[in-house]
Symmetry: C2
Subunit: 248 residues, 2 copies
DNA sequence: CGCAAGATTGATAAAGATCAAGCCGGGTGG
DNA sequence: CCACCCGGCTTGATCTTTATCAATCTTGCG
Protein backbone atom coordinates (compact mmCIF):
# COMPACT_ATOMS: atom_id res chain seq x y z
CA UNK A 1 0.00 0.00 0.00
CA UNK A 2 2.64 2.46 1.03
CA UNK A 3 4.89 1.26 -1.72
CA UNK A 4 2.14 1.71 -4.23
CA UNK A 5 1.87 5.31 -3.12
CA UNK A 6 5.57 5.74 -3.24
CA UNK A 7 5.61 5.25 -6.95
CA UNK A 8 2.16 6.44 -7.71
CA UNK A 9 2.16 9.71 -5.89
CA UNK A 10 5.53 11.07 -4.91
CA UNK A 11 3.94 14.16 -3.43
CA UNK A 12 2.04 12.18 -0.83
CA UNK A 13 5.14 10.18 -0.14
CA UNK A 14 7.21 13.28 0.41
CA UNK A 15 4.75 15.01 2.69
CA UNK A 16 4.52 11.90 4.85
CA UNK A 17 8.11 12.60 5.81
CA UNK A 18 6.97 15.74 7.57
CA UNK A 19 3.39 15.34 8.73
CA UNK A 20 0.81 12.66 9.42
CA UNK A 21 -1.77 12.66 6.68
CA UNK A 22 -5.36 11.65 7.35
CA UNK A 23 -7.26 9.62 4.78
CA UNK A 24 -9.02 12.78 3.80
CA UNK A 25 -5.67 14.53 3.33
CA UNK A 26 -4.46 11.71 1.14
CA UNK A 27 -7.63 11.88 -0.89
CA UNK A 28 -7.24 15.63 -1.36
CA UNK A 29 -3.67 15.15 -2.51
CA UNK A 30 -4.74 12.46 -4.92
CA UNK A 31 -7.28 14.86 -6.38
CA UNK A 32 -4.58 17.47 -6.69
CA UNK A 33 -2.50 15.20 -8.84
CA UNK A 34 -5.31 13.43 -10.64
CA UNK A 35 -5.17 15.16 -13.99
CA UNK A 36 -1.53 15.29 -14.79
CA UNK A 37 -0.16 15.70 -18.28
CA UNK A 38 2.98 14.54 -20.04
CA UNK A 39 5.43 17.27 -20.97
CA UNK A 40 8.35 16.70 -23.32
CA UNK A 41 11.89 17.35 -22.22
CA UNK A 42 13.48 20.78 -22.70
CA UNK A 43 10.19 22.64 -22.48
CA UNK A 44 9.73 25.86 -20.51
CA UNK A 45 6.94 25.68 -17.97
CA UNK A 46 7.36 29.25 -16.78
CA UNK A 47 9.30 32.22 -18.06
CA UNK A 48 11.06 34.90 -16.11
CA UNK A 49 9.04 38.08 -15.96
CA UNK A 50 5.70 36.42 -16.69
CA UNK A 51 2.87 35.96 -14.28
CA UNK A 52 3.09 32.38 -13.06
CA UNK A 53 0.63 30.09 -14.81
CA UNK A 54 -0.08 28.00 -11.77
CA UNK A 55 1.45 25.71 -9.24
CA UNK A 56 3.21 22.80 -10.88
CA UNK A 57 3.41 19.47 -9.14
CA UNK A 58 6.09 17.23 -10.56
CA UNK A 59 5.14 13.57 -10.54
CA UNK A 60 7.89 12.11 -12.67
CA UNK A 61 10.94 13.36 -14.51
CA UNK A 62 13.36 16.16 -13.74
CA UNK A 63 12.72 19.89 -13.88
CA UNK A 64 15.12 22.75 -13.33
CA UNK A 65 14.93 26.37 -12.38
CA UNK A 66 17.34 28.53 -14.31
CA UNK A 67 18.21 32.13 -15.01
CA UNK A 68 19.68 33.65 -18.13
CA UNK A 69 22.36 36.24 -17.47
CA UNK A 70 23.20 39.21 -19.63
CA UNK A 71 26.51 37.62 -20.59
CA UNK A 72 24.59 34.84 -22.27
CA UNK A 73 25.21 32.18 -19.65
CA UNK A 74 22.40 30.00 -18.43
CA UNK A 75 22.71 29.27 -14.75
CA UNK A 76 20.75 26.34 -13.42
CA UNK A 77 19.66 27.26 -9.92
CA UNK A 78 18.40 23.88 -8.84
CA UNK A 79 16.99 20.60 -10.01
CA UNK A 80 13.55 19.46 -8.91
CA UNK A 81 12.71 15.79 -8.50
CA UNK A 82 9.35 14.01 -8.40
CA UNK A 83 7.15 15.13 -5.53
CA UNK A 84 9.00 18.41 -5.21
CA UNK A 85 8.22 21.70 -6.79
CA UNK A 86 4.75 22.82 -5.87
CA UNK A 87 5.66 26.46 -6.22
CA UNK A 88 3.46 27.50 -3.38
CA UNK A 89 5.05 30.91 -3.46
CA UNK A 90 3.32 31.95 -6.65
CA UNK A 91 0.52 33.03 -4.37
CA UNK A 92 2.85 35.68 -3.06
CA UNK A 93 5.23 36.64 -5.80
CA UNK A 94 3.51 38.24 -8.73
CA UNK A 95 6.17 37.61 -11.32
CA UNK A 96 8.47 34.74 -12.03
CA UNK A 97 12.02 35.75 -11.20
CA UNK A 98 13.41 32.74 -13.03
CA UNK A 99 12.52 30.19 -15.69
CA UNK A 100 11.25 26.72 -15.03
CA UNK A 101 11.92 23.99 -17.59
CA UNK A 102 11.71 20.25 -17.97
CA UNK A 103 14.99 18.39 -18.45
CA UNK A 104 13.31 15.16 -19.50
CA UNK A 105 9.82 13.96 -20.26
CA UNK A 106 7.75 14.65 -17.16
CA UNK A 107 4.38 14.04 -15.59
CA UNK A 108 3.10 17.33 -14.31
CA UNK A 109 -0.08 18.41 -12.67
CA UNK A 110 -0.73 22.14 -12.63
CA UNK A 111 -3.22 23.60 -10.18
CA UNK A 112 -4.47 27.08 -9.44
CA UNK A 113 -3.49 29.12 -6.42
CA UNK A 114 -7.16 28.99 -5.44
CA UNK A 115 -7.00 25.23 -5.16
CA UNK A 116 -4.10 25.55 -2.78
CA UNK A 117 -5.85 28.30 -0.85
CA UNK A 118 -8.75 25.96 -0.29
CA UNK A 119 -6.38 23.41 1.22
CA UNK A 120 -5.39 26.00 3.75
CA UNK A 121 -8.81 25.86 5.35
CA UNK A 122 -9.70 22.28 4.82
CA UNK A 123 -6.37 20.52 5.15
CA UNK A 124 -4.04 22.50 7.37
CA UNK A 125 -1.85 19.44 7.72
CA UNK A 126 -1.11 19.45 4.04
CA UNK A 127 -0.14 23.08 4.21
CA UNK A 128 2.16 22.38 7.11
CA UNK A 129 3.70 19.56 5.14
CA UNK A 130 4.24 21.76 2.12
CA UNK A 131 5.80 24.44 4.28
CA UNK A 132 8.11 21.91 5.88
CA UNK A 133 9.13 20.47 2.55
CA UNK A 134 9.90 23.98 1.43
CA UNK A 135 12.08 24.66 4.45
CA UNK A 136 13.98 21.47 3.79
CA UNK A 137 14.41 22.49 0.18
CA UNK A 138 15.79 25.86 1.14
CA UNK A 139 18.73 24.17 2.76
CA UNK A 140 19.59 22.66 -0.61
CA UNK A 141 19.86 26.16 -2.01
CA UNK A 142 22.14 27.17 0.83
CA UNK A 143 24.44 24.23 0.27
CA UNK A 144 24.45 25.01 -3.43
CA UNK A 145 25.76 28.48 -2.66
CA UNK A 146 28.54 27.03 -0.53
CA UNK A 147 29.31 24.40 -3.15
CA UNK A 148 29.60 26.76 -6.08
CA UNK A 149 31.37 29.46 -4.15
CA UNK A 150 33.77 27.34 -2.21
CA UNK A 151 34.87 24.16 -3.95
CA UNK A 152 36.90 23.48 -7.05
CA UNK A 153 35.34 22.01 -10.13
CA UNK A 154 35.92 18.32 -9.40
CA UNK A 155 34.61 18.11 -5.85
CA UNK A 156 31.88 20.51 -6.86
CA UNK A 157 30.67 18.13 -9.51
CA UNK A 158 31.06 15.19 -7.17
CA UNK A 159 29.03 17.03 -4.58
CA UNK A 160 26.19 17.57 -7.03
CA UNK A 161 26.19 13.87 -7.87
CA UNK A 162 26.12 12.88 -4.21
CA UNK A 163 23.22 15.19 -3.56
CA UNK A 164 21.22 13.90 -6.51
CA UNK A 165 21.95 10.35 -5.45
CA UNK A 166 20.60 10.87 -1.94
CA UNK A 167 17.59 12.77 -3.18
CA UNK A 168 16.82 10.07 -5.74
CA UNK A 169 17.28 7.36 -3.18
CA UNK A 170 14.99 9.18 -0.78
CA UNK A 171 12.13 8.91 -3.25
CA UNK A 172 12.93 5.38 -4.30
CA UNK A 173 14.32 6.20 -7.72
CA UNK A 174 17.78 4.88 -7.11
CA UNK A 175 17.62 1.26 -6.16
CA UNK A 176 21.28 0.44 -6.34
CA UNK A 177 24.22 2.74 -6.80
CA UNK A 178 23.02 3.69 -10.24
CA UNK A 179 20.18 5.82 -11.55
CA UNK A 180 18.83 7.49 -14.63
CA UNK A 181 20.03 11.10 -14.90
CA UNK A 182 18.91 12.77 -18.11
CA UNK A 183 21.47 15.60 -18.10
CA UNK A 184 24.09 16.59 -20.65
CA UNK A 185 27.56 17.72 -19.70
CA UNK A 186 26.42 21.16 -20.69
CA UNK A 187 23.63 20.96 -18.11
CA UNK A 188 26.07 19.81 -15.47
CA UNK A 189 28.34 22.74 -16.21
CA UNK A 190 25.48 25.22 -16.03
CA UNK A 191 24.42 23.73 -12.72
CA UNK A 192 27.77 24.11 -11.00
CA UNK A 193 29.04 27.21 -12.71
CA UNK A 194 31.69 25.86 -15.07
CA UNK A 195 31.85 25.43 -18.84
CA UNK A 196 30.75 22.23 -20.52
CA UNK A 197 34.35 21.54 -21.51
CA UNK A 198 35.53 21.86 -17.98
CA UNK A 199 32.64 19.69 -16.83
CA UNK A 200 33.82 17.09 -19.31
CA UNK A 201 37.34 17.17 -17.92
CA UNK A 202 36.18 17.08 -14.33
CA UNK A 203 33.97 14.13 -15.14
CA UNK A 204 36.85 12.29 -16.70
CA UNK A 205 38.90 12.89 -13.65
CA UNK A 206 36.20 11.46 -11.38
CA UNK A 207 35.93 8.48 -13.70
CA UNK A 208 39.66 7.89 -13.75
CA UNK A 209 39.71 8.02 -9.97
CA UNK A 210 37.26 5.13 -10.02
CA UNK A 211 34.57 7.08 -8.22
CA UNK A 212 31.76 6.89 -10.76
CA UNK A 213 30.69 6.46 -14.35
CA UNK A 214 28.25 8.58 -16.29
CA UNK A 215 27.27 7.15 -19.66
CA UNK A 216 24.15 7.44 -21.68
CA UNK A 217 22.25 9.45 -19.12
CA UNK A 218 22.97 6.97 -16.36
CA UNK A 219 25.04 7.80 -13.31
CA UNK A 220 26.69 4.96 -11.44
CA UNK A 221 28.42 5.76 -8.21
CA UNK A 222 31.15 3.22 -7.79
CA UNK A 223 32.52 4.26 -4.43
CA UNK A 224 30.10 6.45 -2.52
CA UNK A 225 32.12 6.85 0.68
CA UNK A 226 35.18 7.90 -1.27
CA UNK A 227 33.16 10.22 -3.50
CA UNK A 228 31.61 11.84 -0.44
CA UNK A 229 34.98 12.35 1.15
CA UNK A 230 36.50 13.69 -2.04
CA UNK A 231 33.58 16.06 -2.54
CA UNK A 232 33.31 17.22 1.08
CA UNK A 233 29.73 15.96 1.05
CA UNK A 234 27.73 15.27 4.18
CA UNK A 235 24.04 14.60 3.82
CA UNK A 236 23.04 16.47 6.97
CA UNK A 237 21.73 19.47 5.09
CA UNK A 238 19.23 17.31 3.25
CA UNK A 239 17.41 16.73 6.54
CA UNK A 240 16.51 13.22 5.58
CA UNK A 241 13.68 11.71 7.56
CA UNK A 242 15.26 9.99 10.57
CA UNK A 243 13.82 6.56 9.93
CA UNK A 244 15.27 6.36 6.50
CA UNK A 245 18.63 7.72 7.42
CA UNK A 246 19.97 4.35 8.36
CA UNK A 247 18.73 2.69 5.25
CA UNK A 248 21.00 4.50 2.92
CA UNK B 1 2.89 56.49 13.54
CA UNK B 2 3.96 54.26 10.71
CA UNK B 3 7.34 55.87 10.64
CA UNK B 4 7.77 55.31 14.30
CA UNK B 5 7.15 51.63 13.75
CA UNK B 6 9.50 51.57 10.83
CA UNK B 7 12.40 52.28 13.04
CA UNK B 8 11.11 50.78 16.19
CA UNK B 9 10.05 47.42 14.92
CA UNK B 10 11.43 46.37 11.55
CA UNK B 11 9.62 43.04 11.79
CA UNK B 12 6.21 44.67 11.84
CA UNK B 13 7.28 46.95 9.07
CA UNK B 14 8.39 44.07 6.91
CA UNK B 15 5.30 41.96 7.42
CA UNK B 16 3.10 44.90 6.47
CA UNK B 17 4.54 44.55 3.00
CA UNK B 18 2.81 41.22 2.68
CA UNK B 19 -0.30 41.17 4.86
CA UNK B 20 -2.66 43.50 6.66
CA UNK B 21 -1.99 43.39 10.35
CA UNK B 22 -4.74 43.97 12.87
CA UNK B 23 -4.03 45.93 16.03
CA UNK B 24 -3.96 42.65 17.86
CA UNK B 25 -1.42 41.30 15.37
CA UNK B 26 0.74 44.34 15.89
CA UNK B 27 0.50 43.93 19.62
CA UNK B 28 1.51 40.29 19.37
CA UNK B 29 4.50 41.20 17.25
CA UNK B 30 5.50 43.90 19.70
CA UNK B 31 5.41 41.31 22.46
CA UNK B 32 7.53 39.03 20.36
CA UNK B 33 10.26 41.61 20.09
CA UNK B 34 9.82 43.17 23.52
CA UNK B 35 12.77 41.63 25.30
CA UNK B 36 15.59 41.94 22.86
CA UNK B 37 19.22 41.86 23.86
CA UNK B 38 22.37 43.45 22.50
CA UNK B 39 24.85 41.05 20.94
CA UNK B 40 28.39 42.05 20.05
CA UNK B 41 29.68 41.73 16.51
CA UNK B 42 31.38 38.51 15.35
CA UNK B 43 29.45 36.31 17.76
CA UNK B 44 27.96 32.97 16.76
CA UNK B 45 24.24 32.71 17.47
CA UNK B 46 23.92 29.14 16.23
CA UNK B 47 26.42 26.47 15.29
CA UNK B 48 26.19 23.91 12.56
CA UNK B 49 25.21 20.52 13.90
CA UNK B 50 23.63 21.86 17.08
CA UNK B 51 19.99 21.89 17.93
CA UNK B 52 18.78 25.40 17.23
CA UNK B 53 18.46 27.49 20.37
CA UNK B 54 15.39 29.31 19.22
CA UNK B 55 14.03 31.62 16.61
CA UNK B 56 16.06 34.79 16.37
CA UNK B 57 14.43 38.01 15.33
CA UNK B 58 16.92 40.60 14.17
CA UNK B 59 15.94 44.12 15.13
CA UNK B 60 19.12 46.00 14.28
CA UNK B 61 22.54 45.18 12.88
CA UNK B 62 23.65 42.62 10.33
CA UNK B 63 23.78 38.86 10.73
CA UNK B 64 25.07 36.26 8.31
CA UNK B 65 24.58 32.59 7.71
CA UNK B 66 27.80 30.81 6.82
CA UNK B 67 29.26 27.36 6.34
CA UNK B 68 32.79 26.19 6.95
CA UNK B 69 34.14 23.88 4.26
CA UNK B 70 36.68 21.15 4.73
CA UNK B 71 39.21 23.15 2.74
CA UNK B 72 39.13 25.77 5.45
CA UNK B 73 37.12 28.33 3.52
CA UNK B 74 34.24 30.12 5.16
CA UNK B 75 31.41 30.67 2.76
CA UNK B 76 28.87 33.31 3.69
CA UNK B 77 25.53 32.09 2.41
CA UNK B 78 23.56 35.25 2.94
CA UNK B 79 23.29 38.42 4.96
CA UNK B 80 20.25 39.11 7.10
CA UNK B 81 19.03 42.62 7.72
CA UNK B 82 16.78 44.04 10.44
CA UNK B 83 13.30 42.53 10.43
CA UNK B 84 14.49 39.47 8.59
CA UNK B 85 15.64 36.21 9.99
CA UNK B 86 12.96 34.69 12.16
CA UNK B 87 14.19 31.19 11.42
CA UNK B 88 10.74 29.78 11.41
CA UNK B 89 12.08 26.54 10.01
CA UNK B 90 13.73 25.51 13.24
CA UNK B 91 10.37 24.01 14.05
CA UNK B 92 10.97 21.54 11.27
CA UNK B 93 14.69 20.99 10.96
CA UNK B 94 16.18 19.39 13.98
CA UNK B 95 19.76 20.43 13.45
CA UNK B 96 21.37 23.57 12.18
CA UNK B 97 22.96 22.90 8.80
CA UNK B 98 24.91 26.14 8.96
CA UNK B 99 26.22 28.72 11.39
CA UNK B 100 24.57 32.00 12.20
CA UNK B 101 26.70 34.91 13.35
CA UNK B 102 26.49 38.62 13.96
CA UNK B 103 28.61 40.83 11.73
CA UNK B 104 28.12 43.92 13.87
CA UNK B 105 26.52 44.77 17.19
CA UNK B 106 22.90 43.70 16.94
CA UNK B 107 19.59 43.86 18.73
CA UNK B 108 18.17 40.39 18.79
CA UNK B 109 15.07 38.88 20.29
CA UNK B 110 15.05 35.10 20.60
CA UNK B 111 11.78 33.28 21.02
CA UNK B 112 10.82 29.64 21.40
CA UNK B 113 9.20 27.56 18.71
CA UNK B 114 6.24 27.25 21.04
CA UNK B 115 5.71 30.99 20.96
CA UNK B 116 5.56 30.85 17.20
CA UNK B 117 3.26 27.84 17.29
CA UNK B 118 0.86 29.84 19.39
CA UNK B 119 0.78 32.53 16.74
CA UNK B 120 -0.37 29.93 14.29
CA UNK B 121 -3.68 29.62 16.08
CA UNK B 122 -4.18 33.12 17.30
CA UNK B 123 -2.64 35.19 14.53
CA UNK B 124 -2.84 33.35 11.23
CA UNK B 125 -2.15 36.60 9.43
CA UNK B 126 1.24 36.87 11.04
CA UNK B 127 2.06 33.35 9.97
CA UNK B 128 1.03 34.13 6.43
CA UNK B 129 3.21 37.21 6.53
CA UNK B 130 6.18 35.23 7.81
CA UNK B 131 5.68 32.62 5.11
CA UNK B 132 5.49 35.30 2.44
CA UNK B 133 8.60 37.01 3.72
CA UNK B 134 10.32 33.67 3.58
CA UNK B 135 9.30 33.06 -0.01
CA UNK B 136 10.59 36.47 -0.96
CA UNK B 137 13.83 35.70 0.81
CA UNK B 138 14.25 32.45 -1.05
CA UNK B 139 14.50 34.37 -4.28
CA UNK B 140 17.53 36.14 -2.86
CA UNK B 141 19.19 32.77 -2.42
CA UNK B 142 18.39 31.86 -6.02
CA UNK B 143 19.87 35.06 -7.35
CA UNK B 144 22.91 34.49 -5.18
CA UNK B 145 23.46 31.15 -6.89
CA UNK B 146 23.23 32.77 -10.30
CA UNK B 147 25.49 35.60 -9.20
CA UNK B 148 28.27 33.45 -7.80
CA UNK B 149 28.08 30.86 -10.53
CA UNK B 150 27.70 33.11 -13.50
CA UNK B 151 29.37 36.48 -13.13
CA UNK B 152 32.97 37.56 -12.89
CA UNK B 153 34.35 39.03 -9.72
CA UNK B 154 33.72 42.71 -10.41
CA UNK B 155 30.09 42.58 -11.49
CA UNK B 156 29.55 39.95 -8.83
CA UNK B 157 30.70 42.32 -6.14
CA UNK B 158 28.74 45.16 -7.71
CA UNK B 159 25.67 42.97 -7.72
CA UNK B 160 26.00 42.26 -4.01
CA UNK B 161 26.28 45.97 -3.31
CA UNK B 162 23.21 46.74 -5.39
CA UNK B 163 21.24 44.11 -3.59
CA UNK B 164 22.26 45.33 -0.16
CA UNK B 165 21.47 48.87 -1.18
CA UNK B 166 17.93 48.02 -2.23
CA UNK B 167 17.35 45.88 0.80
CA UNK B 168 18.65 48.62 3.10
CA UNK B 169 16.57 51.21 1.35
CA UNK B 170 13.49 49.04 1.65
CA UNK B 171 13.75 49.12 5.42
CA UNK B 172 14.68 52.77 5.61
CA UNK B 173 18.34 52.29 6.51
CA UNK B 174 19.75 53.95 3.46
CA UNK B 175 18.49 57.46 3.21
CA UNK B 176 20.72 58.68 0.44
CA UNK B 177 23.07 56.75 -1.76
CA UNK B 178 25.21 55.86 1.20
CA UNK B 179 24.81 53.50 4.14
CA UNK B 180 26.66 51.85 6.97
CA UNK B 181 27.95 48.44 5.96
CA UNK B 182 30.05 46.84 8.68
CA UNK B 183 31.87 44.31 6.52
CA UNK B 184 35.55 43.74 5.88
CA UNK B 185 36.96 42.94 2.47
CA UNK B 186 37.46 39.46 3.79
CA UNK B 187 33.72 39.21 4.49
CA UNK B 188 32.93 40.46 1.01
CA UNK B 189 35.19 37.86 -0.53
CA UNK B 190 33.63 35.08 1.53
CA UNK B 191 30.19 36.25 0.47
CA UNK B 192 30.83 36.17 -3.27
CA UNK B 193 33.30 33.30 -3.43
CA UNK B 194 36.60 35.07 -4.05
CA UNK B 195 39.66 35.72 -1.92
CA UNK B 196 40.02 38.86 0.15
CA UNK B 197 42.85 39.98 -2.10
CA UNK B 198 40.76 39.62 -5.17
CA UNK B 199 37.89 41.39 -3.42
CA UNK B 200 40.28 44.23 -2.75
CA UNK B 201 41.26 44.48 -6.39
CA UNK B 202 37.69 44.23 -7.61
CA UNK B 203 36.72 46.95 -5.18
CA UNK B 204 39.47 49.20 -6.45
CA UNK B 205 38.30 48.67 -9.96
CA UNK B 206 34.73 49.65 -9.08
CA UNK B 207 36.09 52.68 -7.30
CA UNK B 208 38.27 53.71 -10.22
CA UNK B 209 35.30 53.38 -12.54
CA UNK B 210 33.57 55.98 -10.38
CA UNK B 211 30.77 53.64 -9.43
CA UNK B 212 31.11 53.66 -5.65
CA UNK B 213 33.29 54.18 -2.63
CA UNK B 214 33.64 51.91 0.38
CA UNK B 215 35.60 53.43 3.23
CA UNK B 216 35.41 52.94 6.92
CA UNK B 217 32.48 50.58 6.82
CA UNK B 218 30.41 52.95 4.72
CA UNK B 219 29.29 52.18 1.19
CA UNK B 220 28.46 55.07 -1.09
CA UNK B 221 26.99 54.29 -4.45
CA UNK B 222 27.98 57.10 -6.76
CA UNK B 223 26.21 56.03 -9.91
CA UNK B 224 23.49 53.48 -9.24
CA UNK B 225 22.17 53.12 -12.80
CA UNK B 226 25.65 52.50 -14.13
CA UNK B 227 26.49 50.12 -11.30
CA UNK B 228 23.31 48.16 -11.98
CA UNK B 229 24.09 47.94 -15.66
CA UNK B 230 27.68 46.96 -15.04
CA UNK B 231 26.62 44.31 -12.53
CA UNK B 232 23.69 42.93 -14.54
CA UNK B 233 21.49 43.79 -11.60
CA UNK B 234 17.71 44.10 -11.85
CA UNK B 235 15.73 44.37 -8.64
CA UNK B 236 12.84 42.24 -9.82
CA UNK B 237 13.89 39.22 -7.81
CA UNK B 238 13.66 41.22 -4.59
CA UNK B 239 9.90 41.41 -5.09
CA UNK B 240 9.74 44.86 -3.60
CA UNK B 241 6.31 45.95 -2.47
CA UNK B 242 4.68 47.70 -5.43
CA UNK B 243 3.93 50.99 -3.67
CA UNK B 244 7.51 51.53 -2.72
CA UNK B 245 8.95 50.54 -6.06
CA UNK B 246 8.58 54.00 -7.46
CA UNK B 247 10.20 55.61 -4.51
CA UNK B 248 13.60 54.10 -5.05
C1' DC C 1 24.37 7.65 -45.77
C1' DG C 2 24.93 11.74 -43.63
C1' DC C 3 23.50 14.98 -40.31
C1' DA C 4 23.34 16.99 -35.70
C1' DA C 5 23.97 16.96 -30.86
C1' DG C 6 26.85 15.77 -27.58
C1' DA C 7 31.50 14.20 -26.03
C1' DT C 8 36.42 14.64 -26.35
C1' DT C 9 41.07 16.59 -27.15
C1' DG C 10 44.78 20.02 -27.58
C1' DA C 11 46.55 24.67 -27.50
C1' DT C 12 46.27 29.14 -25.67
C1' DA C 13 44.47 32.98 -22.84
C1' DA C 14 42.27 35.01 -18.96
C1' DA C 15 40.61 35.10 -14.26
C1' DG C 16 41.55 34.31 -9.87
C1' DA C 17 44.51 32.12 -6.04
C1' DT C 18 48.58 32.12 -3.56
C1' DC C 19 52.80 33.91 -1.59
C1' DA C 20 55.30 37.56 0.36
C1' DA C 21 55.76 42.11 1.74
C1' DG C 22 54.66 46.63 3.13
C1' DC C 23 51.37 50.09 4.82
C1' DC C 24 48.07 52.42 7.70
C1' DG C 25 45.40 53.58 11.70
C1' DG C 26 43.40 52.77 15.99
C1' DG C 27 44.04 50.81 20.51
C1' DT C 28 46.98 49.46 24.42
C1' DG C 29 50.44 49.26 27.81
C1' DG C 30 54.59 51.20 29.62
C1' DC D 1 52.65 60.56 25.33
C1' DC D 2 54.80 57.48 22.61
C1' DA D 3 56.16 52.85 20.94
C1' DC D 4 54.38 48.83 19.41
C1' DC D 5 51.02 45.71 17.84
C1' DC D 6 47.51 43.92 15.32
C1' DG D 7 43.83 43.66 12.07
C1' DG D 8 42.69 45.03 7.88
C1' DC D 9 44.08 47.13 3.47
C1' DT D 10 47.23 47.38 -0.51
C1' DT D 11 50.72 45.99 -3.86
C1' DG D 12 53.65 43.04 -6.84
C1' DA D 13 55.09 38.59 -8.55
C1' DT D 14 54.00 34.07 -9.63
C1' DC D 15 51.22 29.90 -10.05
C1' DT D 16 46.80 27.32 -10.75
C1' DT D 17 42.38 26.86 -12.27
C1' DT D 18 39.19 27.60 -15.55
C1' DA D 19 37.62 29.73 -20.01
C1' DT D 20 38.07 30.12 -24.78
C1' DC D 21 38.97 28.65 -29.42
C1' DA D 22 39.23 25.20 -32.78
C1' DA D 23 39.01 20.78 -34.19
C1' DT D 24 37.81 15.90 -34.25
C1' DC D 25 35.22 11.98 -32.81
C1' DT D 26 31.07 9.28 -31.79
C1' DT D 27 26.49 7.91 -32.09
C1' DG D 28 21.62 7.80 -32.64
C1' DC D 29 18.51 8.61 -36.09
C1' DG D 30 15.82 10.22 -40.26
Amino acid sequence: MLDAFRFKNPLINRLKNFVDLSNSDVAALSDLTANSRKVEGRVDLEREGDEPRGIHILLSGIVCRYKMLSNGHRRIITFLLPGELCDVHVRVLRRMDHDLATMSICDISTVTPRTIAKLEDEHPNIMRGLASANFAFESILREQIANIGGREAEPRLGHLFCELYYRMKMIGLSGGPSFHLPLTQNDLGDAIGITAIHANRSLQSLRKAGLLTFDGRRLTIIDLPRLEKFSDFTPGYLHLPPMKNGGI
